[in-house]
Symmetry: C2
Subunit: 295 residues, 2 copies
Amino acid sequence: MLPLESVPNVSEGRDGEVIAALAGAFATSARLLDVHSDVDHNRSVFTLVAGGGDDDALVGSLLGGIAAARDAIDLGRHEGVHPRIGAADVVPLVPIRATDMERACAAARALGARVGVELGLPVFLYGEVGGGRRPAFFRRGGPGELQRRVDAGELHPDYGPPRLDARAGAVLVGARKPLVAFNVVLDTEDVEIARGVAAAVRESSGGLPGVQAIGIALPSQGRVQVSMNLIDLDRAALHEVLERVSTEAAARGVGCQDTELVGLLPAAAVLAAAAEPLYLPRLDSSRVLELNLLP
Amino acid sequence: MLPLESVPNVSEGRDGEVIAALAGAFATSARLLDVHSDVDHNRSVFTLVAGGGDDDALVGSLLGGIAAARDAIDLGRHEGVHPRIGAADVVPLVPIRATDMERACAAARALGARVGVELGLPVFLYGEVGGGRRPAFFRRGGPGELQRRVDAGELHPDYGPPRLDARAGAVLVGARKPLVAFNVVLDTEDVEIARGVAAAVRESSGGLPGVQAIGIALPSQGRVQVSMNLIDLDRAALHEVLERVSTEAAARGVGCQDTELVGLLPAAAVLAAAAEPLYLPRLDSSRVLELNLLP
């Protein structure tokens, strides 16, 4: 049995001490596989799995990390280019095997209930456990707009009080399939070019299936970035999306300067990219020695 | 701890009943991950790992498979395009993690000793456990030439009698790093073209490091094949070798019609091929979720 994965996104990407303390809190009874912090996004992404495949231990470890984020981060003083509504902004539970989605949903519900009761924060469920709603549905307009929608009766938290915490906001807890978070830095300072490329590749404006993309400025680098989530890797593979980004950027006269993987890659994304250079069109995980040795 | 792998190569690729019986014998106390049989080579390759990481159980299972091959295959009546000196021709023990090479060597010695004593077959050690000697060193000239070299005192089996079995020959037992066995079928009947491509890519004639290659006819298909082992994937990656094969074939006016992976791929070969299409030049196993979950 493979453990569940969780990839909490926290609204702090600048203060190394705070980030290290949060990493420690999230990893109390889980294995920390990766930490990705970004000063412009002012956001950190932790990749965790339960040590022994114990879902309850993972939920407990996540609860401790969310509590640490609530105590350390004041959203009222937060600046960053990435949208957010909470100190611990988004906490997805991810089945590594597709057949474990119900386990992920159960863990998400257990975590949401504990965050509501024990930490006193409003929790909104998203993804497979939240009627298919996506984080962007809750984040648009920021914490103030989310509170307005709650007050107007348009939304109600699934757990916890109907009032966002003044410092820590709310928490989006979800269950979703593995995704790839990938950023491409473009060799220009013109954020309109990044926005144009993002619009060309994202599904919502007629681009590639399962691609969410925004174009943002990176003040720390004097460059711009296309920041993407690929949420349906079966329909648009990472290497295909990157080829399209490169083409769209070139059509606007700019090159791709650098890339950045946020968190880890599902093996399926690697296999899809390797099939053509290996002349093995039907390459799948059964053909890779190590992938036969998973627990 | 990861289990050791073993990839016995047996001189029977035509009789489905015999192949199935051999697969069963090899898998008595090991997990069978793949069977690859080839009618032209008249050879089958079994990919095995110990079920619970128990090296002794793997050795015992291999011994049973070698005994079954000895009993079922008469090398005196064998025809096939692949060189061989035994019914159970080559039996490598392979560490999946490089740090397990000493374990693989110990298992190879234990297997060799048991084949010599219990099955009465001469065993020659090769690879890391055999002073770096390769199977081709023993196979050139076939069983008759091997016997002549033993009789002349040029060689002596590491275990077992100094006389090849009239039906089952000898067994090459080795320890080696993971390799890739890969065949490319060319769109021509001219075996000289396959030989020319093989000579251009193999290390021994000035090609790519760690590449062993032969060009052979495939009577059953009316085509020819470049049959390769890549034994040093750090120095020449599979996708690079395939690009070279394709270029060399094109220079001779023929295309690559089909490809064939024999056995399984090490994850490193997949990662190396995916790095460029994923725009991640430093991609390694630490960036792949599932590869962090191996035991």
